[in-house]
Symmetry: C2
Subunit: 276 residues, 2 copies
């Protein structure tokens, strides 16, 4: 699964030509997809508990899932569904908005470092440092030379994360132009969803081709062995949830975290306890 969705290092995918409703592998319809996602839950919960337990005994490893995608691509929904089976105490979810004045005074990686998962934790970023090379490029907030430097800094940063034991999974939730229109319209149609809508979303949509190009550059420049990018077709929500859960599962299985052995005398403790 992983290899199928992974962007090969240095390759520039033609995102506009990729089918956002594709089902490259796995369950073929919604019912099967939801069932397959639910079936992964116990294994995900167990692996997360092991990771957390290992973290309490000195294992420095952790996992960071980075979610990027256009407005309405389902970053928030993915967080909710993927985290469903997990113990929230071991998760660190962070949604990055426009930087605050304080954040603006620091390097663009400053706020990212502060939000990283600690050993044993699973971190999920809803948007990330990649905004600084996406909106930064599209809106001309940074000159091209600065963007080039940022790609390099990002790659170096993620390489250092990998060396510190952070498994980084970066997911581009790929939706189509038409699907975005439907989802934005749905927000307008329901008063309970008006709060999710911002008229500025329509202007952002106007920059769709520029964003697609900015994403293609990110995928080309920043899919590394240390921290690869994965493209998940996200027009179908059930497929998106299955695919991201599956990516998480495969990476956790690779990490294969282990419950730590007792560093105390179990029998002696049992006797002492029974005497109380």
């Amino acid at each position: 699964m992983r290899e199928l969705l992974r962007v090969p290092a240095g390759e520039r995918p033609d995102v506009g030509r990729m089918d956002a409703a594709a089902i490259p592998a796995g369950p073929r319809d919604k019912a099967a997809g939801r069932a397959a996602t639910a079936a992964m839950a116990p294994r995900l919960a167990s692996l997360q508990e092991r990771l957390y337990a290992a973290g309490t005994a000195g294992d420095r490893r952790r996992l960071l899932l980075v979610l990027q995608g256009m407005d309405t691509s389902g970053k928030g929904g993915t967080v909710k569904h993927v985290m469903g089976p997990l113990n929230p105490a071991g998760c660190r979810v962070k949604a990055f908005k426009a930087p605050t004045p304080e954040e603006r005074e620091h390097s663009f990686l400053w706020r990212i470092r502060k939000a990283l998962p600690q050993p044993g934790e699973i971190g999920i970023f809803d948007r990330s440092h990649y905004e600084d090379v996406l909106i930064g490029r599209v809106r001309g907030l940074a000159p091209r030379s600065e963007l080039a430097r940022r790609y390099t800094r990002i790659n170096r940063f993620e390489e250092s994360l990998a060396q510190e034991g952070v498994t980084v999974i970066k997911v581009f939730l790929h939706i189509s132009y038409e699907e975005q229109r439907e989802r934005l319209l749905a927000r307008l149609d329901s008063p309970d969803k008006h709060w999710k809508f911002d008229p500025g979303d329509i202007e952002e949509r106007g920059a769709w081709p520029a964003y697609q190009e900015a994403y293609e550059r990110v995928l080309e420049r920043c899919s590394t062995d240390a921290a690869p990018w994965f493209i998940v077709p996200a027009d179908r929500k059930w497929y998106r949830d299955w695919a991201v859960s599956r990516l998480l599962l495969e990476h956790l299985e690779d990490m294969d975290p282990q419950y730590p052995r007792a560093d105390f005398d179990v029998e002696e403790c049992r006797s002492r306890l029974l005497a109380t």
Copy 2:
């Protein structure tokens, strides 16, 4: 429900005489309890979304659930179950451990303030500032005069939270001495749970009467109108989960958060969108 579990201001409950397996109200057995808890999920999810939505439009209100209880009383399990129906993006879970050297250099409320929920969020504390008047008292880490000052500071702090729009729900998960023994033994019996066990837990258990007394004082001194304490019988996990979910639900219903009205022209946006 709320009034049944609430500790009246200034009253000192005799915790040792309260049945930790009691079912003071609500479902009478495990199957009914689990079903009733599950039935609350959609309403909890909806109220949380409203609270979050209102927060994006300037509503400063938020909710803080504080969980305290002896080792194995189920604070972690409660976090997991109660948060199940909620969107993790709107939750802020914080487990407080022994203070770090940095935390020790500040007032005991410093680290608490840093972890408070932001407007629109639901915060859950697994342990809290109350440790500083519990273990602080039992282990003699602070003189009695300092403890008296802390109760006052805590009440003032929580009063200020209430004024800022924070609904504070403080829950004492009450388990029996016998149930704790069973749960600690269960941790010893399963190698997968050894990581949760610390031989120091047996010493802490030795201070059971002192802890009960420390809890009684906390409940007497710090159950205020601004931030009342609730005692939840927690020997039965299904009842504990139901009761805490129910407390959360009742408070959220009282808060009655509303989706904000659109501050843009919906029809105009729809036309512009349809033209894209």
